[in-house]
């Protein structure tokens, strides 16, 4: 019987993979559902087992079964690993994703699974923490804090109960690596958490997954049930979020697990010392924890050998938005932003020129192509007034209205603010109003057709707060900068504190979108 591999990743399913799988079953094939390889322009991808390895075809629809089976289909890709998109990737964290059946314990073991946990359990906790330190691994959830140092703090804290919490809230637009790993290789995350538990002496762990990820939730729950005997005495459970972006912030997340409103706690105390239920707690992003099995199995040096400056190891970069070859691309730090967008991503999907890219989700800066020389590295991005965050890159073509995006950033902050501090709670609402006045003035001075928004709607959207006659465009912009300053320095957490990044970068790099264009000069006589 022909063995066929088809992804059951949420993205592949959204593109029709379930129908394709059913069609292959109907044709008498043995269908194995895997995670996704992460190149969505070829999903649904079908891989046929053969003597030369797995031969890929994609994208494939249910009507293509016969042509795929006799090898005549036009979208024959050959071995997927040899495609340019895959050839240059050091797949440390995503090595198994797309290859294996995510819930098969034997697949996991034959592809190197549990080797890291075995190595960790053969060592003293301090040696495990030392290995993570030596790898140079920094938290992949956004702030880039060294993981080994966090673990050391929890190891050194004395307490009867300690916890491992995995932050799988992944609320940033443009990011999906956590989701893909949980759906495609759940045991890898579980193994990383079990290693962390051994390293710091924790007995129980939580994986907090956002409710927008139903596939990840069910896969993780099934995986925990299937491997409970392998990680014992460590125990794990999944907690489902409830649609609040701020619960990605680590202390808000802890409050949410405790059954409270997800509000940010003031630090100190650090969660490493007084975290969940007041006990010492390791809280790490999915990708930070999923990187650990490789580090223990292959050695800290092998991990640290890849990277750039103080950013060691690999980063699963997510190419999103208006991009031709969108998907997950695991790569060593140091690759330039331009290479990611244009070489790997192939430019825009629409074929129009790239105008802006937002890096790091809704709190990240918008960069113009003039900044494409930036190397992907925590420090380099911070210096340029941006952040890497969770390494999501959202590409926009030249139809984007940057004033609209700045307004959206403020609106998002207002909708998602936890309400604890005034600059964020009130400032973001004031920010929306200023942006509406700026845009209403712009439309008034020079009504322009916005290709993205149907005529009439633009007026309805942007004319809610008419500009007070006494305030000119420059004064509105000065007010916006002043407000951004207050939010940046007066907010308790990065939701209010970083919203100025998308707003001010839009204003600084794309000022022409904030004012009416100067009237065209009359041709000189």
């Amino acid at each position: 019987m022909t063995r066929v591999f088809i992804s059951r990743d949420m993205a592949s399913v959204a593109l029709g993979a379930d129908d394709v799988a059913r069609a292959f079953v109907a044709a008498g094939c043995e269908v194995i559902r895997t995670g996704s390889r992460g190149l969505f322009s070829i999903e649904p991808l079908v891989e046929l087992e053969s003597e030369e390895g797995r031969i890929g075809y994609g994208p494939v629809g249910p009507a293509d079964v016969a042509a795929v089976l006799d090898g005549s289909h036009a979208n024959r890709l050959g071995r997927v690993e040899t495609l340019p998109f895959f050839a240059n990737q050091p797949r440390f964290t995503f090595a198994r994703c797309g290859l294996t059946d995510p819930l098969s314990l034997s697949d996991y073991a034959t592809h190197g699974g549990w080797k890291g946990l075995e190595a960790a359990r053969a060592r003293a906790p301090q040696q495990v923490v030392d290995a993570v330190k030596a790898s140079g691994l920094r938290g992949r959830g956004g702030a880039g804090f060294p993981t080994g140092i966090k673990w050391q703090t929890v190891l050194d804290a004395s307490s009867l109960a300690k916890f491992i919490v995995c932050n799988a809230d992944e609320g940033d637009s443009g990011t999906f690596a956590d989701r893909m790993l949980m759906e495609g290789d759940p045991y890898c995350l579980i193994e990383g958490m079990a290693i962390a538990a051994h390293a710091v002496g924790a007995g129980h762990g939580y994986i907090y997954i956002r409710s927008e990820y139903p596939f990840a939730i069910s896969t993780m729950r099934a995986a925990i049930d299937a491997c409970a005997h392998l990680i014992a005495p460590f125990t794990l459970e999944v907690r489902e979020g409830a649609g609040a972006y701020v619960c990605g912030e680590e202390t808000a997340l802890l409050d949410s697990i405790e059954g409270k409103r997800g509000q940010v706690r003031a630090k100190p105390p650090l969660p490493a010392l007084q975290g969940l239920f007041g006990q010492p707690t390791v809280i790490n992003n999915v990708l930070s924890l999923a990187a650990v099995p490789f580090i223990l199995a292959e050695g800290a040096e092998a991990y640290a050998a890849v990277g750039f400056g103080r950013s060691r190891g690999t980063m699963p970069v997510q190419l999103a938005g208006n991009v031709r070859h969108g998907g997950l691309y695991e790569v060593g730090f140091g690759i330039t932003l331009g290479d990611l967008v244009n070489e790997v991503g192939g430019g825009t999907a629409s074929g129009s020129p790239v105008r802006a890219v937002q890096v790091g989700g809704p709190l990240g800066a918008y960069f113009p192509p003039g900044m494409f020389h930036l190397p992907f590295d925590y420090e380099a991005f911070a210096e340029a007034g941006g952040l890497i965050g969770h390494a999501g890159i959202t590409v926009f073509d030249d139809s984007v209205d940057m004033a609209h995006m700045a307004r959206f950033a403020m609106e998002f902050c207002a909708a998602e603010s936890c309400g604890k501090c005034t600059p964020c709670r009130i400032g973001s609402t004031r920010g929306v109003e200023i942006m509406e006045r700026i845009m209403a003035r712009r439309e008034q001075d020079s009504p322009r057709p916005d290709p993205a928004i149907p005529a009439g709607l633009a007026k309805a959207l942007y004319s809610r707060s008419p500009a007070p006659a006494q305030r000119g465009a420059e004064q509105e912009i000065a007010l916006l900068r002043d407000l951004a300053d207050t939010m940046k320095y007066g907010s308790l957490c990065a939701l209010g504190g970083f919203t100025p990044y998308p707003v001010l970068s839009a204003l600084d790099y794309f000022p022409e979108d904030f004012v009416a264009p100067a009237p065209a000069k009359e041709a000189a006589e």
């Binding site: 409830a242 059954g259 409103r261 809704p362 998602e416 928004i453």
Partner: protein, 150 residues
């Protein structure tokens, strides 16, 4: 619903940290968390009614009134906007006959905003009664409308 809540706490425990899982279970069971249940939940977990009310109103997921028979969650976040999501949102409002964040008067469909489904390279995206749909254009909107009977 009291029986449901009691049975649930017998099975899963009645510590305060069970509040979110319990609210999810209630919403799964009857579609929303009615205000009348707040004191029942408070008693079941031995916390104050204000605590329960505060949590129900804090999280965007919890509904305090019934939803439509079908729920269309449309992504409004940046990556979907970069792929024409704003125009699709306007069309969806027209095609489904309901404003964003509202339930249609006949109770047939609720249109809800969602901020990212993690399908950001293939947008604009939606969840139609829990089923993910990608690359939504006018034709796909037509299919969705037909599916939910709008």
């Amino acid at each position: 619903m009291e029986d449901f809540i009691n049975a649930w706490t017998l099975r899963h425990g009645r510590s305060r940290d069970k509040l979110l899982p319990l609210l999810h279970a209630i919403q799964e069971e009857c579609g929303y968390v009615g205000d009348g249940l707040v004191p029942v939940i408070a008693r079941a977990l031995n916390i104050s009614r204000a605590d329960v009310h505060g949590v129900v109103t804090f999280y965007h997921d919890f509904r305090r009134a019934p939803s439509g028979r079908h729920i269309v969650k449309l992504c409004r976040a940046e990556s979907c906007q970069a792929r024409g999501g704003t125009a699709i949102e306007a069309q969806a409002v027209q095609r489904l006959g309901v404003a964003m964040g509202q339930t249609r008067a006949d109770g047939q469909v609720s249109l809800e905003p969602v901020y990212c489904l993690g399908l950001c390279a293939i947008g604009p995206n939606a969840l139609v009664d829990g089923r993910p749909v990608a690359r939504i254009d006018a034709a796909a909107l037509g299919h969705i409308a037909a599916e939910v009977g709008a």
